[in-house]
């Protein structure tokens, strides 16, 4: 059974059709890539999955739950974490506090207990700190834990976004152009990170990316979008040789 299934999703902005009857089916534990030219609707798919936009047509199911009926924060709590194309960190909060916001999302302790410092709230707070520390260590940010998010370098900010999404304990992680603005060695590091996250945390990863080497390298399945339509999907080898994909996106010799 696929963990995420989009069927016949269409989205319009004014008269512009951003997505046109898109079907996607993502199996559990997969690394799934969505590629396509600028404006093909890749980020729109993310915004629909996370509930920021409501599709004009179609349904989407996450583990049999129809996400159409839920607001973004509930979708996040169900276990869909995401990063943003243009980094959206909580700039004036420290690195670890960025993760604690996500931990709040899935917290069971209410605000009164937090305010009065009840034992259950303290216990939970300790666990959150411990878990956040582990996540930061995994992404190589442990030393920076107490720094403000806006004092981090670009690459570190990208990794912090991933860490923050992971603090939600997601079953599905959406990465929006994780390699944007990274140099070659950082990209290689990122590939390792993404693979190790998937294996260690038992996640499904859906990513949007422009960098072909990265996508072909780590994705087990790829969908290609063009002008809001899905023009192909399959494993990297078949995508690389698909004629429609070559003419619309990859170009000759890719």
């Amino acid at each position: 059974m696929p963990i995420l299934k989009l069927s016949d999703i269409s989205m319009e902005f004014g008269g512009l059709r951003a997505l046109d009857s898109v079907d996607l089916s993502i199996e559990e534990h997969q690394i799934y890539g969505i590629i396509g030219p600028n404006g093909a609707g890749k980020t729109t798919i993310f915004n629909i999955i996370t509930g920021i936009y409501k599709p004009v047509k179609g349904n989407l199911f996450f583990k049999d739950i129809n996400l159409k009926n839920y607001p973004p924060y509930k979708i996040a709590r169900m276990g869909i974490g995401r990063t943003f194309q243009n980094i959206r960190l909580f700039q004036k909060l420290s690195v670890i506090d960025n993760l604690r916001v996500s931990a709040h999302g899935i917290s069971k302790v209410n605000i009164i207990a937090n305010m009065l410092g009840f034992p259950n709230s303290r216990r939970e707070e300790k666990q959150i700190m411990l878990k956040s520390g582990q996540l930061l260590e995994m992404l190589g940010l442990y030393e920076k834990g107490m720094e403000l998010a806006d004092s981090l370098s670009y690459g570190e900010q990208r990794r912090l976004e991933i860490a923050r999404a992971l603090a939600l304990e997601p079953a599905l992680l959406l990465l929006d152009e994780p390699a944007a603005g990274m140099n070659a060695s950082e990209k290689i590091e990122l590939i390792d990170t993404i693979k190790s996250i998937r294996d260690n945390m038992n996640l499904t990863i859906l990513l949007v990316e422009h960098d072909m080497s990265l996508v072909m390298n780590i994705c087990e399945s790829i969908a290609v979008l063009d002008y809001g339509r899905k023009i192909a999907d399959g494993d990297p080898a078949s995508i690389r040789n698909d004629e429609k994909v070559i003419s619309s996106y990859l170009g000759m010799g890719a």
Partner: protein, 295 residues
């Protein structure tokens, strides 16, 4: 305790200290809404007057204990906070600023015409039950609860709304609920401060809770540093004491106020303590020398 303090401290200074205490309660309330969650509220005086009038009327006409009267005033303010918060906080942008200005004006005009509240003349002869120790106690409780709340993960979620609302939602934060809750808590503290104020002053009138009062409290939060508790307290102390020193220039007081804020915004755009963290201070302190064992 209070008898001892009135003996030891000059009445003039004691008055300023008590006003500082009340203002801290008021400003910490506004800090929750405007400083922490970043929702610009410009009608804090409206909540203050709701609390003040509710407490004053109750203590004039009933024999309820002072604590009950205060809480009733604060609850009345919080109730109105929820009522106007629900429609306006669901929207993004600065709707809340306009709604709260309007709300505070409506409340003021209402009390101008409210029979039980003495209309434009105001209410006089309110039993003075606010003492130094009561203000001090309530202030300490309010500061303590603010600190524990803002240091918890819920507090961080509140800050995250100010920093980036879309990202906050993507992190599973129910932003609408928290904004309304925070606004209601701010209104509660506004009403609480208003009740204390009414009972301390003997006399209240609608004119005291005008737009300028809202701006005055907002100034305290902005001056001290949005979202910072020590900053807000510092802002309150400075802006409560400053007018006393500026009495010499009486009519030009607001001019100095304005100049002060302009200078502040140039040199410390985040407020006096808005971007100061204990962690950064500690890092700059000279580290203790680690004694090395000689091998």
């Amino acid at each position: 305790m209070d008898a001892f303090i009135t003996q030891q401290i000059d009445a003039y200074y004691l008055r300023i200290i008590i006003i500082i205490g009340i203002n801290i309660i008021l400003a910490l309330g506004l800090n929750l809404t405007t400083g922490v969650t970043g929702q610009l509220s410009m009608g804090h005086a409206g909540f203050m007057s709701l609390g003040a009038y509710t407490a004053a009327i109750l203590s004039l006409h009933t024999t309820l204990p002072f604590v009950v009267v205060l809480i009733a005033g604060a609850m009345a303010a919080a109730l109105f906070g929820i009522i106007i918060g629900i429609p306006s906080l669901r929207l993004e942008g600065d709707y809340l600023a306009i709604v709260t200005i309007g709300f505070a004006e409506i409340v003021r005009v209402f009390f101008l015409n409210f029979e039980l509240g003495g209309k434009a003349v105001g209410l006089a002869g309110i039993p003075q039950q606010t003492t130094f120790s009561i203000v001090f106690l309530i202030m300490m409780v309010v500061i303590f609860l603010n600190i524990t709340l803002l240091n918890s993960h819920t507090g961080k979620a509140l800050y995250s709304i100010r920093e980036n609302e879309i990202a906050a939602q993507a992190c599973g934060v129910n932003t609408t609920q928290l904004k309304i809750l925070c606004f209601a808590m701010g209104a509660f503290l506004g009403g609480l401060g208003g009740g204390l104020y009414a009972s301390y002053m003997y006399y209240i009138s609608p004119g005291e809770f005008g737009f300028m009062k809202s701006i005055e409290i907002l100034n305290m939060v902005v001056l001290g540093g949005m979202g910072s508790i020590p900053g807000t307290i510092l802002g309150v102390i400075i802006l409560t004491i400053a007018p006393e020193f500026l009495r010499v220039v009486a009519d030009y007081r607001l001019l100095f106020y304005g100049a002060m804020l302009v200078i502040l915004m140039i040199f410390r755009p985040n407020g006096l303590m808005g971007d100061i963290r204990w962690y950064d201070i500690k890092k700059r302190l000279p580290k203790k020398e680690v004694k090395k064992c000689q091998s």
